[in-house]
């Protein structure tokens, strides 16, 4: 079997098969995530990102058009660093093929090249030994072998083979992988997608799993249309009509006349004719008339009708929810009831619940940008894993007035908020104050290892108490206090630290504050200590030292 060219419909099938293949191995990819803290599993993030693209994408014969909508959806749905890199790869791929309704070997090669370049550009400090190396070497090693006569199957086979080769080298490139004895999870996930696409060409279709619900399409609140509502917006009506040759139906069909007739019933009319099938979109107050008219020509293959007043009211409600105008609005991502309350009390305009994994998507950021009415916006991601997604959202929003203050922990976010001067008229000064809030803050996080792990001198077993300085594990043991004390002790400028803010996790008893305070204040008598009920899920303690 040899395919020389693929159109949008083929491509869509391939992409869906790629997603299904990734989903089938999602847990495997997650397990490759070597870090013993379960915040941001690569496999899941990639599934969510590609899944949002597939859901968002509009089917089209035109491969370029399909890819464009797929890539838009992925950019919006991107979660975690692996998701952002994947979405950027597809953005490059789609940009290269924007004017290619049909993809042949040359287009595919160029798309794969442009894709990896876009992925590299998205990352400030590209790290080799990750998905980046795999997508780059995969195509660079075979690009000269691709000719006009190459089949899509052969290109993808070579591409996958090269990527697998690179994948097996990722432990050599990245020591953290080597010590853990695994390959890079993001790279592995990408190969799964490519393999699924190739399998599709060989007719091996994988049953798709149900996708997790999207967050961009929040369910419409039907209570917004009730006995007291006005009805003025009509129904959004969409159907595909199959014209039938049976003489009971009108056989003469002229698209222009059909459209002119429809104009009597409504507006926003779109009609696409594909042989004996007619796809119709119309906004109408009287769908029954449209149905009766259309039924003269055939029967409905599909039919969809939505009350637009509900959507309108929903829109009004969202507009109403918009906050009052402010010179500067702050959007922060946190996990835990205590932290959410704290950030709101601090004057944060929108507090996004990062969930357990703190992997907020670009779409969630965009939605938040929309909800505030401000001259400038500051975003506090409070997690290294979502800084990229936040930056991507800023880029997608095309707004220049949004600053991502790259807080890597809730503790850094706390100091950024605390340094703000809300009654100053000087927005630039306020942003620079917040920016300076995160400087020189050491974050110590303490939790229990969720899996076995080994890197350099450090190794731990699932269930061990571990403490991290910024994002590196420093101490492992059976006593949580000791891990914290040991980790604080290695902060290079610990003697210059004056303040220690401790956020207690959800399942940590309050009495432990006393225990920690006594020990820490005896070790650092000059330091000020402040305990806050954070209520965060994964980390038992998040400790910021300033």
């Amino acid at each position: 079997m040899s395919t020389k060219r693929i159109n949008g419909i083929h491509l869509e099938k391939m992409i869906k098969n790629g997603l299904a293949n990734l989903q089938q191995h999602e847990e495997e990819a997650n397990r490759l995530n070597v870090f013993p803290v379960p915040d941001g599993d690569t496999g899941t993030n990639m599934v969510l990102t590609l899944g949002n693209g597939v859901r968002y994408a509009k089917s089209s014969d035109d491969a370029g058009a399909y890819l464009r909508s797929l890539s838009d959806g992925m950019l919006l749905g991107a979660r975690g660093n692996s998701g952002v890199i994947l979405s950027q790869f597809f953005r490059g791929f789609a940009a290269e093929l924007a004017r290619s309704p049909i993809i042949g070997p040359g287009e595919l090669r160029n798309g794969l090249i442009r894709g990896y370049r876009a992925a590299y550009e998205a990352v400030v400090h590209p790290v080799e030994g990750t998905i980046l190396s795999v997508v780059r070497e995969g195509i660079e090693h075979i690009r000269t072998q691709i000719t006009r006569n190459s089949s899509i199957e052969s290109i993808l086979s070579m591409y996958i083979a090269e990527m697998r080769k690179t994948l097996s080298f990722t432990p050599e490139m990245l020591s953290v992988l080597k010590e853990a004895g695994v390959v890079d999870s993001g790279a592995y996930g990408f190969i799964l997608i490519a393999e699924g696409m190739l399998k599709c060409l060989y007719g091996e279709v994988i049953d798709p799993k149900e996708l997790p619900q999207p967050y961009t399409d929040a369910p419409v609140d039907l209570s917004l249309f009730n006995e007291n509502s006005e009805f003025a917006d009509g129904y959004c009506t969409e159907f595909i009509l199959q014209r039938l040759v049976n003489s009971r139906y009108q056989q003469e069909f002229n698209k222009e006349d059909f459209i002119s007739e429809l104009r009597f019933f409504g507006n926003s009319i779109a009609v696409i004719v594909d042989g004996m099938r007619v796809k119709v979109h119309i906004h109408t107050l009287y769908p029954s008339k449209v149905i009766a008219f259309a039924q003269q020509y055939g029967e409905f293959l599909t039919f969809k009708m939505e009350n637009m007043q509900v959507q309108h009211n929903e829109h009004d409600r969202i507009v109403e929810q918009k906050k009052e105008h402010k010179p500067l609005a702050v959007i922060a991502v946190v996990n835990g009831e205590g932290l959410k309350t704290l950030f709101s009390n601090f004057g944060c305009d929108i507090v996004i619940d990062g969930g357990t994994t703190m992997n907020t998507s670009s779409a969630e950021f965009l939605e938040a940008f929309d909800k505030v009415d401000a001259d400038a916006i500051v975003v506090l991601p409070n997690n290294p894993n979502i800084i990229l997604a936040a930056r991507q959202a800023v880029e997608l929003s095309k707004r220049r007035d949004i600053t991502v203050v790259e807080s890597k922990s809730a503790a850094q976010g706390y100091f950024a908020m605390a340094m703000d001067i809300p009654d100053s008229d000087d927005v630039k000064f306020r942003i620079s104050q917040m920016q300076s809030g995160i400087d020189n803050i050491a974050t110590v996080s303490q939790t229990v290892a969720s899996r076995d792990y080994s890197y350099h001198e450090i190794s731990c077993r699932k269930g061990d108490e571990i403490a991290l300085l910024d994002s590196e594990i420093v101490s492992v043991g059976s006593d949580y206090v000791k891990t914290i004390v040991d980790t604080i002790a290695v902060i290079p400028d610990i003697d210059d630290k004056e303040t220690c803010v401790l956020f207690r996790g959800r399942d940590v008893p309050e009495e432990r504050e006393e225990e920690l305070y006594e020990l820490l204040s005896s070790l650092y008598p000059m330091m000020d200590f402040e305990f806050i009920d954070g209520g965060q899920e994964i980390y038992h303690w998040i400790i910021g030292l300033a």
Binding site: N345, A418, S424, S436, E498, V501
Partner: protein, 311 residues
């Protein structure tokens, strides 16, 4: 010409020693203390230590309240001197945070009705605590130099805005709660490790001009700020006020002495009349310098610059 009286309320935080040395008459106001009810203001720690007082205040701030001297108390304070034929300059705690000036104004009217020749001048200090106290000390020194009633009044009216505050208030929950500072929620409570730096504004309140992260950074900003705004430091007495921040005040005193070599630096306690409204987090120096701009723009620019340099 020392035939006029300098008078003030307890908002000036001048201890008995200063009152005597500078001959300043104090009109007591009122305190509501837990378990004690309404008691007169006091300016020495007798029944309770400074640390105890502020620790208790921090725990139950709602059990404490203050009130200025009332109408009768002002009249009673004015009358004996008027009868003696002495003129009075009465300086009050900032009208932005207390009703003292209102009571004094009515009291003055009543006294004038009774003694049409009485000479009483009321001056709104637009300050509180040791910043207000320092203003009185300056007035008293002028009086000792032989300046007339009118000259001292003119000095006070023209130079009020040269009395600076360079310091921090690291627990803003009190000023916020008492409505004595206009701030959004973000300012509530104590922000661990953050030092909001404030200066007196034209309205008689303090405005936060910037925030420094940590005491070290704050000291560096404050020292530069004093340097940029003070005039003739070697001729000055500098007051350092602290509510419950004595060690920090001592460190500050040392730095100021070393850098500016003033005549003397005094660490001044803030007593309950002001302290109840400020809370335990004040640590600030008071001195005379360049006039403070009406909208604080010049001062804000300096603080912003120094904060940027301290990073």
């Amino acid at each position: 010409m020392k035939d006029y009286i300098l008078m003030a309320d307890a908002g000036c935080d001048l201890s008995a020693e200063f009152q005597e040395k500078y001959d300043i008459k104090i009109i007591n106001g009122h305190l509501v203390l837990p378990g004690k009810g309404d008691v007169p203001t006091f300016m020495e720690w007798k029944d309770v230590s400074r640390e105890q007082f502020y620790a208790e205040l921090k725990k139950n701030p709602n059990d404490y309240a203050t009130a200025p001297p009332n109408l009768t108390e002002y009249e009673t304070a004015f009358e004996p001197y008027i009868k003696e034929g002495k003129a009075i300059i009465c300086v009050t705690i900032s009208s932005a945070i207390s009703g003292a000036l209102d009571f004094a104004t009515t009291a003055r009217k009543n006294i004038l009705a009774k003694y049409p020749d009485a000479k009483i001048k009321l001056i709104d200090s637009l300050r509180f605590g040791p910043g207000f106290g320092l203003m009185l000390v300056h007035a008293s020194m002028l009086r000792a130099d032989g300046k007339s009633f009118e000259e001292v009044v003119k000095y006070l009216e023209e130079n009020r805005n040269r009395f600076h505050q360079a310091g921090w208030l690291d627990d803003l929950s009190f000023v916020a709660k008492k409505g004595r500072i206009t701030h959004p929620k973000a300012f509530f409570g104590q922000l661990a490790g953050i030092k909001p730096i404030g200066e007196f504004d034209a309205g008689g309140l303090t405005t936060v001009l910037g925030k420094a992260k940590g005491a070290k950074a704050a000291y560096s900003v404050l020292m530069k700020y004093i340097e940029a705004t003070i005039e003739d430091p070697e001729d000055q007495y500098i007051f350092i006020a602290q509510t419950s921040r004595y060690p920090q005040a001592e460190a500050y005193k040392k730095m100021i002495e070393e850098q500016f070599n003033p005549k003397a630096v005094y660490i001044i306690d803030v007593f309950p009349f002001c302290g109840i409204n400020i809370g335990p987090g004040l640590m600030a120096a008071y001195y005379v310098g360049k006039p403070i701009s009406e909208d604080l723009s010049a001062e804000r620019a300096l603080i912003e610059q120094f904060i940027a340099e301290a990073k």
